[in-house]
């Protein structure tokens, strides 16, 4: 092997790895706060990417209608669960969040959509759409069962993945989509050429890692979110609004997922079900990070990206096999290192 190929592979691996790192971070974030293992993270990626791609061609993506529909369901749930103690402020807040926000978004999309809409506007719209979906997803699917075991939450999460992926096919069709590049800037260093795209990927990843790490480690809100994960009842007793914590976590995760999607859709063609595989690789990184450590997750994601790049060069047929079996030795090490603790389940 010559050095140039190796450098190319490394660069490729690091770029992909950075995306996996972003997703891994979102998974860790959601798990740390809600104990939900967010399988639909991959759908946030495809929804973000393909909504952006459709907006870029001047079409209205179906996701925005989904956001409105989910908002209605969320509103109905809010009313139903608060039926014993309905008061005007609560209803107003629920209307504003679950009805006014997605409907306004729908209006905005119809008003602004067109072939000449600036890239920045399209990105903002795609992010808002996915953010709304993420927010409502927590309200509808997870908030009613927030107190149950990790396992029940995981199965529910798989259910959400199935539904959202099926809807993805309805919205975007079976054909893959690609979107225009965000910027045409490029830097050349030796044999390597760094596009503006990949530089944006690196910058955002590093930014999010540092940001999340600081947020959870050093701010009061961050600590409150973590407390919710450890003991919901205890957190509520000391005045933390646990449902709000869950919503914040899902909001952040869906935005991070959508950003990752928008970052990669100019590089590769995305299909309605691509997100699942990408998400799973972020997942491997998150597991290696023990679902708790942000820096470790980021490093693991880079390793996953590099392994993937090298194995697609040397044994392209077995690329996925290698990436997914990578997790087994890690799991062994984790289980050897951490002796089992007694769990009081059910």
């Amino acid at each position: 092997m010559n050095t140039t190929i190796m450098l190319f592979l490394l660069q490729d691996g690091i770029t992909n790895g950075a995306i996996y790192a972003l997703l891994g971070l979102a998974l860790v974030l959601v798990f740390a706060v809600t104990r939900v293992i967010l399988i639909p993270q991959g759908e946030f990626v495809t929804y973000g990417a393909l909504s952006y791609a459709m907006l870029a061609t001047g079409q209205v993506p179906g996701t925005v209608r989904l956001a409105v529909a989910m908002g209605l369901v969320a509103f109905a749930l809010d009313l139903f669960f608060a039926r014993k103690a309905l008061h005007a402020r609560l209803v107003m807040r629920s209307v504003a969040l679950n009805i006014a926000f997605p409907v306004a978004l729908l209006g905005l999309v119809y008003a602004l959509v067109g072939p000449n809409t600036p890239i920045a506007v399209n990105i903002a719209l795609a992010l808002l759409i996915v953010a709304a979906i993420g927010l409502f997803l927590y309200r509808i699917a997870f908030q009613p069962i927030a107190h149950t075991s990790v396992l029940v939450l995981l199965i529910a999460s798989v259910g959400c993945h199935l539904a959202l992926q099926g809807l993805g096919l309805v919205f975007f069709g079976a054909e893959g989509l690609r979107a225009p590049a965000l910027s045409s800037a490029a830097v050349t260093a030796g044999p390597l050429r760094f596009t503006g795209q990949s530089l944006a990927v690196y910058a955002l990843t590093v930014g999010f890692i540092v940001g999340l790490w600081l947020f959870f480690g050093y701010t009061k809100t961050g600590k409150a979110l973590r407390a919710t994960a450890v003991n919901r009842l205890g957190a509520r007793l000391v005045g933390i609004r646990t449902t709000l914590s869950g919503q914040i976590a899902f909001l952040l995760a869906s935005v991070i997922g959508a950003i990752s999607g928008i970052l990669i859709v100019p590089i590769t063609t995305l299909y309605y079900d691509t997100g699942f595989l990408i998400g799973l690789k972020g997942f491997i990184a998150a597991i290696i990070g023990g679902l708790v450590s942000y820096p470790l997750t980021a490093v693991a994601a880079i390793v996953v990206g590099i392994v993937e790049a090298f194995s697609s060069f040397y044994a392209s047929n077995f690329k996925e096999v290698i990436v997914f079996t990578l997790i087994l030795p890690v799991l062994v090490l984790r289980s050897l290192a951490a002796p089992q603790v007694e769990e009081e389940k059910d």
């Binding site: 259910g159 099926g166 096919l169 597991i287 079996t325 799991l331 009081e344």
Partner: protein, 589 residues
Amino acid sequence: MTQRLPLIIFALVMAVIPLLPGIPPFWIVLLDNIGLAALVAMGLVLLTGVGGLTSFGQAAFCGFGAYTTAVLTTAYGVSPWLTLPASLLVSGIAAVLLGLVTVRLSGHYLPLGTIAWGIGLFYLFSKLEFLGRNDGISGIPPLSIGSFRMLSPDTIYYAIWVAVLLSALLTMNLLDSRTGRAIRALRRGHIAAEAFGVQTPRAKLLVFIYAAVLAGLSGWLYAHFQRAANPTPFGAQAGIEYLFIAVVGGAGYVWGGVLGAGIVVILKEVLQSYLPYIFGGQSQLETIVFGIMLVLLLQLAPQGVWPWLMSRLPFKPARKTPDTSVKLEHRERAAGTSPVLLHIDKARKQFGGVLAVNDVSFDVNAREIVALIGPNGAGKSTTFNLITGVLAATSGKIAVLGNEVANAPPQEVVKLGVSRTFQHVKLVPDMTVLENVAIGAHLRGNSGAISSMLRLDRTDEAKLLAEAARQIERVGLSEQIDQLAGSLSLGQQRIVEIARALCVDPMLLLLDEPAAGLRHMEKQRLAALLRQLRDGGMSVLLVEHDMGFVMDLADRIVVLDFGTKIAEGTPAAIKRNPDVIKAYLGAAA
């Protein structure tokens, strides 16, 4: 026999269905698919619902079963029946290899691990040359008996449903046995089971292999049913669907697996054929409905459909009462080298900077009731955990009859004749009192999984249940013997724990706050029972906060405060000891 009656009726109904005139062949195909899914779901019931190990990767084991027979029959011309053991063996071996890694994982790592290897294996199936890559292997010969070839869906139907019914029977036999009780105890954490000698990692591996072999059987049948094998039905999606089936039916019930398979397979068929009419031509709509229904189901009926149906039955299945006249042999006593039953010498336990037990030394002699008392956080329960091997001591020596325990695991300590109860009751709430107590006799039986499945364990099993029933009678809970342990009051649950500990046939009984939650009369009965046990030759070491109870009962008292022994002596001496008074009431100002 009465318990078998529903099974026989069900078998007869299933046998008649294909013979009915006018049954559309399409229905038979559906029933074939239901049977195939039910086999996998049954394994998942045992693994996930009963054993508490969630697997998203069962479809991969079907793949092992299907590809094994596909390769052997097409490339090597082996007869399909000869490939059955090979298919089961390959899935079993795959399960051993994956299981050794997987079952060690705790909590959510386990399902995540299964997703990862499930997907990895799917890609492996679709990339390997000798498995035909994405196209798979076709032209697999049909099953045949003599010149009768099972070519059509209604002939292989019998092969599939015989497999389902046999597996259901074997699985239910397994659950209703010594090994089965050990498996059912797994979901509630491993400490209680291990305290009675259950090798929990081995029990987990056993259910993992069992579930994989059932999936392999399903795969083998599938290959000869479709006469082809390709990677798609063995991927992550299918693995998720199997879990869905188990959850829908009722993950804790063998028949829940079969029912769930029926519901899901039929539903899928209906959705696939009608949804396109309603929404026009789009594929995959059924996955949307599936996903939404899964979420709804978890919110509305997390237990599944089967238990819901059963609770609506007008009659309850009767339970057999064990014949208490059957004798169970005494446990083999370990040879002793010291007359002192329990000898603790400078035991020490440090958790990081916290010194929970600080060089505590005391003895328990034969035929003696010793109480360990002290304010909250004095290190009493930690001392119990050191003695029983739940925690490893930082330093010091603990010996039973001169045999040093030296940080042996709980399964070894119990063999020395030391059994215990827990401060926080650790019973399996959805098992009856009898079954819970019988776990205590685990080490006194020796039937394994295979003999349980084939019902060769009945004499052994009758002895264990008889012993359990005798101990329940001894503690005065005969009335509650068939109730679910979770339905008892907390005080009664503590008494059940004592009965379970007595089933070990112990020399030393460790009781952690046995009187908490008991009423006055119950406490007196408990005290009488403990005295009677002592007079029968047993020793008791108990932690208790009820001073009246302790002072009346104990021969000797050891007082701990902040992990250090501050006094030891007769109840009368302890009452007057100034250090003890200071520890409990504080120093006089």
